[in-house]
């Protein structure tokens, strides 16, 4: 099954906390009224400009294996290579906030409106991540292969993170063809528009997603976002934001 879905902007509006975290605020610091005013203005821009759209498709384990291997540049050992052979369902996805948001960020910087530009940039990054949660919900509601809406054994993984080399985007794009929703791949494997996400959702028993973050590349990882994701999965809640 392959499906394109429109996501309501209202469903991906970020809370202030992860946005200010991206702006470099420590968790114990409360932004002042001026910073909150900029946040509110950026939110208004996001509401007016974002056109979130997503596409997802079921693939087989064999198909995913070849997408995972990509151009053969993955780290010698990765969490994903242990996880995916135990998964039961493989779902490719991509989503974008679309070009007008990215154009606005550029225009704000060009007009020296740095604070608003940077805030919209952070807001859009968090909103882009939130699109992943909406795709998960949609998949769990509608897919025939879905393990059911109560499943919490579903987790998203993306090329470019945790040893899965970003060049795997090439194979992912070949199979998913997100060009239909306006996402193209640059030579460097980054997506255009920039505020887009892509990857695979793996469904299976929740335990398959648990691992120890002690791979060589983990020592340089600043976010350790897997720790939170695994913790949330244990509690039975789908992970929402991945801020790396």
């Amino acid at each position: 099954m392959r499906e394109q879905i429109q996501i309501a902007v209202q469903d991906i509006l970020p809370d202030p906390a992860p946005v200010f975290a991206l702006q470099g605020y420590p968790p114990n610091v409360h932004p002042d009224a001026r910073a909150l005013g900029i946040f509110k203005s950026a939110m208004g821009l996001l509401l007016g400009l974002a056109r979130p759209v997503a596409v997802w498709m079921d693939i087989t384990a064999e198909e995913f294996q070849s997408i995972y291997e990509g151009e053969g540049d993955n780290a010698p050992a990765t969490p994903l290579e242990r996880i995916y052979p135990q998964a039961e369902h493989f779902v490719l996805f991509a989503a974008t906030l679309n070009e007008p948001v990215c154009d606005e960020i550029k225009a704000l910087f060009a007009n020296d409106d740095f604070a608003l530009g940077a805030m919209l940039d952070s807001l859009a990054s968090v909103a882009a991540d939130l699109m992943g949660g909406r795709i998960e919900e949609h998949y769990l509601r509608t897919a025939s292969s879905s393990p059911g809406p109560n499943s919490n054994g579903l987790m998203r993984y993306s090329p470019g993170y945790c040893g899965w080399h970003i060049s795997a985007q090439k194979a992912l794009f070949r199979r998913l063809r997100p060009e239909g929703i306006g996402i193209t791949l640059r030579e460097s494997y980054l997506m255009q528009p920039l505020k887009s996400i892509s990857g695979v959702m793996l469904c299976g028993r929740p335990e398959i997603h648990r691992f120890r973050p002690d791979y060589p590349f983990c020592s340089e990882c600043c976010t350790k976002s897997c720790v939170d994701r695994i913790k949330k999965m244990k509690k039975g809640r789908p992970p929402e934001v991945r801020s790396d």
Partner: protein, 210 residues
């Protein structure tokens, strides 16, 4: 309080219209554009940098101050050109190939301009050769590279290696930064300097220019 101190103070508060008006007043009082720049605008931006470093200021504060700085700069720019006041030097900056994280790099650009440097911002996802070609063509003395992903850090090494192979390391210095980048990594790849935040980048680049 002197006019220049007022400019510095209003700049720190991010009040662009006030900074522009005070700068015009300073020009009318026949202060030299270099004096206004060094002891009003740049002095203010330096304090903003210090406050940012000590977590008294955060990104929005710095960026509002930078906008105020630019408002003042716009007033004195024609005079600086007329007086042939040299810039602090040219710097090429960008986020390396495969990386789209812009905020840190943008902040460095804003702070560098605020400190009187000419900045050529190549944006994000910049191929290694583009850094070097741009720096060479523009006569820039420093290339600043930012990365936020461990997977994109090797592109920094490529730029340094390319500079070396083209025999340009004496003329063009490199500085690297970004969340996963460290002093050790900078040393390992042969970069000229490492900076841990935007205001530190300004200090390091100032040192590289001399």
């Amino acid at each position: 309080m002197s006019l220049l101190s007022q400019i510095s103070e209003q700049l720190q508060l991010g009040l662009e219209e006030e900074v522009a008006a005070l700068t015009r007043e300073a020009i009318q009082q026949n202060m030299t554009p270099k004096d206004i720049l060094d002891n009003g605008l740049i002095a203010g931006m330096n304090i903003v940098g210090e406050k940012f470093r000590s977590h008294e200021f955060f990104l929005p504060d710095v960026l509002l101050a930078a906008k105020a700085m630019y408002a003042g700069m716009n007033e004195i720019k024609p005079l600086l050109i007329k007086d042939k006041v040299p810039s602090m030097g040219k710097v090429v900056i960008g986020t390396v190939r495969g990386d789209l994280h812009d905020i840190g790099k943008n902040l460095v650009g804003v702070m560098l301009r605020g400190a009187g440097f000419d900045v050529i911002d190549l944006g994000n996802d910049v191929p290694p050769a583009k850094f070097i070609e741009t720096a060479r063509n523009a006569g820039a003395k420093v290339i600043g590279m930012s990365a936020l992903l461990t997977t994109t850090m090797p592109a920094m090494k490529e730029v340094v290696a390319l500079l070396k192979s083209e025999g340009l390391t004496d003329q063009i210095h490199t500085i690297v930064g970004g969340a996963p980048v460290s002093q050790e990594y900078a040393r390992e790849i042969g970069a000229s300097a490492y900076s841990y935040d935007a205001s530190n980048a300004v200090d390091r680049i100032r040192a590289l220019m001399n």
